[in-house]
Symmetry: C2
DNA sequence: ACCTGAACACCGTTCAAGT
DNA sequence: ACCTGAACACCGTTCAAGT
């Protein structure tokens, strides 16, 4: 029998006994798995298989399955943060327009990466158990806070505390994103594009 | 206080070979399990154990684990629907006040039944696979639609199509509920009571 | 019609042992 | 330090067999 082993996944080498970049290979495989079989279909054993290692190998890099998923979620928040800041840089100078742009960007990223978004807000990630995940989530939230502060400074948005308005605004944006991703909106007969929905709702905020 | 509880849900062994009300006992055990160990901790085997039957018995009543969870979710939407209609009956005659009341009631029910709510909106329930679940969800959504239609008829809310405003409104309410349940709001330093948050946001909708 | 018991193919996790 | 292989205690699901 030939010693033909499992095919090497993206950018990983198995030329030696040691993998080399197993941690990255595992998170990558995890995300692919979630995309292919849904968040529930993710399996630590299968992720290890795709990385070309034994089922026990991941435990050198992650305490358990939940920690691997938390790392994937954390990466998602970093990517979302990047998407939001990039949008903010390109946005118009009008604060209200910037808020609408960032709202659109948030929903667009979520709809474009539904599986990643589900992992980020899955009920199984215990933020108390994964501090760096909480930090990354807070960073993405900070992007929202910044634009809100801008709007308030320009007198476009009432309220004194940015957090006072950031709560409902984040909820609106997250609600649209997650209901759209799960198909709940279409289920009740709402076919409007989720991105347009945020834009409309936010512009109504500024008196149309 | 009522003694008409379900027969054998408390783990007490039945006296006959047949259970009698296994279907109900299983959904009841499932909900308790989700409450105790989280949505991820739910196990079909353990639910069967609590109902006092073998691990294979549930398959006489549910096609698989997902169908049991879908049934639990469906019950949740029915309960939510009841909570919303009860509130609507008690609410003031002013349409705007009614909308605020129903928004409060939605978030209150979700926060009071976090585990049930998670099952209802968990990523694992495939509405296409469980039509009656979609119907129950649509019924709860209908409660929202009704009040919105009332508001529009009274000129309190602009827009011609109720669905046009129901989408963002449901998203806002669902976003607040789910972020509150998962502790995301507190995580970013927002300590406001979620019920008050909906009320504030909705009253702002009516020009304060 | 409803339930049991045994069976199968998995998982997550641990641990001694190899490189 | 990193990985393997075997082991353990589970699960979900199926099926022949009991009541």
């Amino acid at each position: 029998m030939s010693e033909e082993k499992s095919p090497v996944t993206t950018g990983a080498r198995r030329d030696s006994y040691h993998h080399g970049d197993l941690k990255r290979a595992l998170t990558h495989a995890a995300l692919s798995l979630v995309a292919e079989r849904g968040p529930k279909g993710f399996t630590l054993t299968e992720a290890a298989r795709r990385a070309g290692v034994s089922a026990a190998a991941p435990y050198r890099h992650f305490a358990d399955k939940a920690h691997l998923l938390a790392t994937v979620a954390e990466q998602g928040f970093l990517e979302l943060h990047t998407a939001l800041t990039t949008t903010a840089a390109d946005a118009a100078s009008d604060p209200a327009a910037r808020l609408i742009s960032i709202g659109r960007a948030y929903v667009r990223w979520a709809v474009d990466h539904p599986d990643h978004y589900r992992v980020m807000f899955g009920a199984d990630n215990d933020k108390a158990q994964h501090p760096s995940l909480a930090v990354a989530a807070g960073q993405a939230f900070g992007d929202l806070l910044d634009v809100i502060t801008l709007c308030q400074a320009a007198g476009k948005l009432r309220g004194q505390e940015p957090g006072q308005v950031a709560g409902p605004l984040w909820s609106l944006v997250h609600g649209i994103a997650s209901l759209a991703i799960d198909g709940e909106l279409r289920n009740v007969g709402i076919d409007q594009d989720p991105e347009d929905m945020v834009a409309d709702a936010l512009s109504a905020l500024f008196g149309r």
